[in-house]
């Protein structure tokens, strides 16, 4: 499996992935670790931030648009508007802070059910910060049990050491591609994108001459 960050048009499928979970669990760090390998001192997310990642999974070139949302509860009315049209949702908790784990089942999982537009949307539970093993407050078994209950995939990772970080996104993408309705949404998104420039807008950015 490889990944690259080349031109924006050279992909087969385009998916929207949402990162949710309590504030400070490392959503932004996980994303930046996936994209660029550095995770130092990321400003708290206000509203939402976006990152694009192009990668090849299962022989297909994918464009992932990853939505990194603000964790604090007060912003919940805002974040609820982000779920529309997502094919994948990553629910993140911090394995060293038990409350971030219980909040996933008490609060976040309910949010997901409430706001998802495609019920086939693939969920993945991710326990972050496993590099701090001595401070662990949530066992791997508990994580797996919750994942089973939510019908989601499960991984433990460390944004800091990058352990399992790529796997989070790749396994999620693979699973999404197994679901026909999501696959269709992903390929429609690409078609829409390619059609656009023909609607009266010359020279797509970066388009070369042949």
């Amino acid at each position: 499996m490889g990944s690259s960050s080349g031109q924006s048009n050279s992909y087969d499928l385009s998916f929207k992935i949402l990162l949710i979970g309590d504030s400070g669990v490392g959503k932004s760090s996980l994303l930046v670790s996936f994209i660029s390998a550095s995770t130092n001192d990321l400003a708290p997310t206000i509203g939402v931030d976006f990152k694009i990642k192009l990668l090849t999974v299962g022989g297909k070139k994918l464009k992932l648009t990853i939505w990194d949302t603000a964790g604090q509860e007060r912003f919940r009315t805002l974040t609820s508007s982000y779920y529309r049209g997502a094919q994948g949702i990553i629910l993140v908790y911090d394995v060293t802070r038990r409350e971030t784990f219980t909040n996933l089942s008490d609060v976040w999982a309910k949010e997901v059910e409430l706001h998802l537009t495609n019920k086939d949307c693939v969920k993945m539970l991710v326990g972050n910060k496993v590099d701090r093993e001595s401070e662990r407050a949530v066992s791997r078994e508990e994580g797996m049990a919750l994942a089973k209950e939510l019908g989601s995939l499960f991984l433990e990772c460390s944004a800091k050491t990058r352990e399992n970080v790529e796997q989070c996104f790749e396994e999620l993408a693979l699973k999404i591609m197994e679901v026909p309705s999501l696959l269709e949404e992903g390929s429609n998104a690409v078609k829409r994108n390619i059609l656009k420039p023909k609607e009266g807008h010359p020279a797509p950015p970066g388009g070369g001459c042949c």
């Binding site: 504030s23 400003a43 206000i46 509860e73 805002l78 807008h201």
Partner: protein
């Protein structure tokens, strides 16, 4: 500097506050005198106070600050174990201050004392206004204030004054934010009907894409120096208390053709607006906002309901009727 002293009478009163505000609005402020100017603009200093009164105020407020700060400093580890809200708040603040403006030399490096000051001031504020507590975004608002005043107690009280006006942005029910976003939609309807119609057709009338702009006064959209310049212009309340809403309209208007011709949907628009960060021409946008504000006149003012932040709330009941955040 020489010009600055001409605004005062012999005892230190600002004789013509409107002239001062106008001067700041059009000309900006030299960094050396920002500390004092901001204290006036934010309402921490009264314009008609004398040098002596302000000196007295500073000393009284300093001890008042220490008293409030001591409320949390005196919490023992044993007490903290039985004080979940305190631990949660402190945890949120701990996490946020170490990732606030760390690329600035004022806040960079390990064990930077200014980062500790951010922490102490925010935690003290969350005791001063326990109902509102701490919310993400507050560290963004405090950071330039501490940078400008360089003093813990002064920063705290300037921040308190700012939060008198912007506190509702952080309300649990988000009503302060919703009122402002609604006012922007009304202003766009008034000042740019094609754009309004486009947003309406594309289900974008919630204006959530302006959320970050409004919540922290464009702090993430401009570089630090420009943000300070913008803030002091907004805080003059010279043409309107709500110039920031016209700034939003001005930025959107400048992007209108691109938004419409590229047929942006809600998701695309949200991303597009986010990515404008660092690419907005502040001077041009301020000129536009001023013109829009003048042009909209009373019709514009009528789009903005009474009590819309940063106006002070209309009723004096419980300002922050809310449960604490548990997350």
């Amino acid at each position: 500097m020489r010009e600055w002293v001409t605004f005062f009478d012999s005892e230190g009163r600002v004789t013509d506050s409107e002239a001062l505000r106008k001067r700041v609005f059009y000309g900006g402020v030299e960094h050396l005198i920002r500390k004092e100017v901001w204290a006036f603009l934010l309402g921490y200093y009264a314009y008609d106070s004398t040098y002596a009164e302000r000196e007295y105020l500073r000393s009284v407020k300093k001890s008042e600050y220490e008293t409030i700060k001591n409320q949390w400093e005196s919490i023992s580890p044993q007490q903290a174990k039985k004080f979940t809200k305190f631990r949660e708040r402190k945890g949120l603040i701990d996490k946020d201050v170490v990732r606030t403006d760390r690329s600035l030399s004022f806040y960079d490096g390990d064990d930077n004392p200014n980062v500790c000051l951010l922490h102490d001031i925010l935690l003290t504020y969350s005791f001063y206004n326990f109902d509102l507590g701490y919310c993400q975004g507050m560290s963004d608002l405090l950071s330039p204030i501490l940078y400008v005043t360089g003093d813990e107690s002064e920063s705290f009280w300037c921040f308190v004054s700012l939060m008198e006006r912007l506190g509702p942005n952080f309300n649990r029910d988000q009503n302060g934010m919703h009122t402002q976003l609604f006012a922007i939609s009304k202003l766009v309807e008034l000042l740019d009907s094609p754009l309004h119609n486009y947003f309406k057709q594309h289900d974008c009338l919630n204006y959530f894409f302006c959320f970050r702009w409004v919540l922290i006064q464009f702090k993430r959209e401009f570089e630090y120096e420009k943000t300070m310049r913008l803030w002091e212009v907004l805080w003059t309340h010279y043409l309107s208390e709500h110039l920031h809403l016209y700034v939003c309209v001005a930025i959107l208007k400048r992007q209108r053709n691109k938004i419409i011709s590229e047929r942006m949907d809600f998701d695309t628009l949200l991303r597009f607006i986010n990515e404008l960060s660092g690419h907005i021409d502040l001077d041009a946008v301020l000129r536009d906002a001023e013109a829009l504000c003048i042009c909209a006149g009373e019709n514009g003012a009528a789009c903005i309901p009474p009590g819309t932040p940063p106006s002070l709330p209309i009723d004096n009941g419980s300002l922050y009727p809310q449960e604490d955040d548990v997350l």
